[in-house]
Amino acid sequence: MTGGSGFTFLEYPIHHDFSPEGKVPVMSSILTAKGICKYFPGVKALQNVDFELQAGEIHCLMGENGAGKSTLIKVLTGVEVSDAGEVCLERKKIAPSSPQQAQQLGISTVYQEVNLCLNLSVAENIFIGREPRKYCGIDWKEINRRSRVLLANMNLDIDVTQPLGRYSVAIQQMVAIARALDISAKVLILDEPTSSLDATEVNKLFEVMQKLKQQGLGIIFVTHFIEQVYAVSDRITILRNGELVGVYDTAALPRVQLIAKMMGKAFDGFEASIKKTAAGSEAEEHAGFLAVRGLGCRGSISPFDLEVNNGEVLGIVGLLGSGRTELARIIFGIDRADSGEVLIKGQKVKLVCPADAIRHGLAYCPENRKTEGIIDTLSVRENIILALQAKRGWGKYIPRKKQEEIANKYVNLLRIKTAGLEQLVGNLSGGNQQKVILARWLITMPSLLILDEPTRGIDVGTKAEIQKLIRALAAEGMAVIFISSELDESIRCCDRMAVLRDRSKIAELSGQEIEEQVIMQTIAGV
């Protein structure tokens, strides 16, 4: 019998549908999802995914980008309506159609971005929308008193009448949790709550989570930090490409296994993947181009050393959220470093903004080409010419004829499929947009090209073309930093690899070490 939580199921037959690995559940299932499917135009975001959460457990939801984690959360919280499958809360079928409705039913979510109003007081943030009233107005005394009690319950002693914006993100998140709990306390979903917290803040959050767990709450915890998964969770559900990989007890799942399952690589078995080492890159002596010593930025990436040589492709690997993009941004001067130094050709330089970096021969193709890369209301020609014009300074206008000449050359060289130079970039396919950005930076003749996920969302053929291009550029003596979440790709392209975990550089691999299992073991930290 599962009557552990004091519920009596008079009308409902008791099933043990979810007993992973034949274990009889000790506690009752509080939230179950069965056969959830969700399709977006052209994408199967979720396919027949089952999920089960017990009362009094912390359950991690893991998966790489596009695995379907956020879609699943959205279905559970009523942001999206699933195309098939059913969700049951305490064995009653529910179909929330909005976050508010889900919250009324007992499912609350706290996001990475704190969804509270920083201008309002702490207490008001907890109670707004359902304020206790007295006579004919809001009873502020009662609001403050009850807020103090709620926060004291989470070992938090702060002045609740102060505006929320005066406190750190960690406290803001606690307040968000307090609000969520006060509305309903059955299921709490924490969607990457630790991304912007530092170590002590994370510990504090974990204490609160443990306390809530003991009170019988079911907590779904989404995070990219492997250490945190092992520090706090009881079970793990892994998704990949919208499908369920499995449900595991955290204690029984080695880290390497977890990473292998997330990345979709069979870990056991020693069939070596065909490794295409770059032509004779090891023996040759390359001149160092960029060296970084102890560069870091609090809350973004811990200090790291890095060297990139002319004519080599340096890969940056790690799981999503491990600090790959942050590393690129700090080198390129987008984020301000608060420690360390950068040397270019042995000379100390200050890169405080992208313009500095461009002047020193750096180029950066950002991860999110839609919002940070292309300007889709400008033509192919204008997009290509942008960086060169910026490098020359706005006073020295590049003549139209010259612009067309350059653009034409690169459209042919990179085989950009476009109806013409004056076609708007927004009308091009993803792969061709990516090539336009590449062209933009290539014409500035950079000495170091930083590519952040250059092949994301691009069809296989174009992917291979871009990879080939990268190798060709390196062969011509350009230094390349290559960031990709696809391991195969990185292995194919890179001469050396820096491995990141939890926002710090943990290792550097080269030569024979650039191999799937070594990389996965390094990421897992065994």
């Binding site: 509270l116 109003c117 201008n119 309002l120 304020e131 809001i138 914006g165 609000r179």
Partner: protein, 327 residues
């Protein structure tokens, strides 16, 4: 630390209040006859309509919006009431409620455009401004004088106060509006939702607050306030004319901003707005007492003050940000 932690959001409010007292003291020292209750009360009497419309504007700025149609709406209300009273010979009992409804509906429609069609409030209310101004001239291109006895009475009646001073009925209306706005902003869910929307609209939505309804209602309320101000203004001017209250929306916005409500929303005080209006009043009075300066110096003084206050608000925000990054 405690001494420093004087709540940032009140800084502008304190400064405004202090500045008003300082200016009043300055006038009292410089000019004989300045230091009297009646001089102070005259500021209320002359600016009652501005206080009322600035209160509506305070709500709009709290949610991070803007409304530049109010001057034109006030002109339209004056013109329309003059026309209905004088040409159609309707009684004030019909005209006044009708005008309040016209103003509220005007605001409601603007609010609907702003929220549901997601058009910038500046553009919507710019269109509203042209529409209202244009309608004035459709009604009449000349001044229409109001001879209705009730309006005449409201214009001239003085409510006697102790110490030989007096106020007008308009002042009572303005004070009632302040009290009502204070209550709404601090003790009703509607008022608090307005602050939440100004703080972060997306968050407010995710917290389950009725964002759409509140936003539309705020513009409706502002329309209502400008209609009320229009009626008070017609008591004051006793006429309808297409060029009444030109640029009044900017005076109202200036008062609200000087009163400590930033254009970015989320913060705002009706008491601040009152002092914002009174500061303009005290500057006007100072210039009047001085005697030789043109009244346009009021505008220059306001320009200077606005500049100072906007820079101050920016500095406060900047300080907050730098402390955040350290924290």
């Amino acid at each position: 630390m405690k001494a420093l932690s004087l709540n940032n959001k009140y800084v502008n409010l304190y400064i405004t209040t202090l500045l008003f007292c300082a200016l009043f003291a300055l006038g009292s020292v410089l000019y004989t006859g300045f230091f009297s209750g009646q001089v102070l009360l005259n500021m209320f009497i002359d600016n009652a309509f501005l206080i009322i419309t600035a209160i509506g504007m305070t709500f709009v700025l709290i949610i991070g919006g803007i409304d530049i149609s109010i001057g034109a709406v006030i002109a339209l209300i004056c013109m329309l009431s003059a026309y209905l009273l004088e040409v159609w010979h309707l009684g004030p009992l019909v005209v006044i409620p009708a005008m309040l409804i016209v103003g509220a509906v005007f605001g409601l429609v603007q609010g609907i455009f702003i929220h549901y069609f997601k058009i910038q409030p500046f553009i919507v209310t710019l269109a509203g401004m042209f529409l209202a101004r244009g309608l004035c001239y459709v009604i009449s291109i000349d001044t229409v004088l109001i001879t209705d006895p009730f309006y005449q009475f409201m214009a001239t009646y003085r409510i006697p106060l102790p110490f030989n001073s007096f106020i007008s009925v308009s002042v009572l209306i303005a004070l009632a509006a302040i009290a009502a706005a204070y209550y709404i902003l601090n003790y009703t869910r509607f008022g608090r939702t307005a602050y939440a929307i100004g703080g972060n609209e997306q968050s407010a939505l995710l917290m389950g607050l009725p964002v759409a309804r509140t936003k539309v209602l705020i513009y409706t309320l502002n329309g209502f306030c400008s209609a009320l101000a229009g009626i008070v203004f017609s008591f004051y001017m006793l006429s309808g004319y297409g060029l009444h209250a030109v640029g009044l929306e900017m005076d109202a916005i200036a008062s609200v901003v000087i009163g400590g409500t930033p254009l970015t929303g989320g913060i705002g005080f009706v008491t601040g707005t009152l002092f914002g209006v009174l500061i303009q009043g005290v500057i006007q009075t100072l210039i009047m007492f001085q005697g030789t300066l043109s009244s346009w110096w009021t505008k220059i003084a306001i320009a200077f003050l606005l500049c100072v206050f906007i820079v101050l608000q920016r500095l406060i925000v900047a300080r907050k940000e730098s402390r955040k990054s350290l924290a």
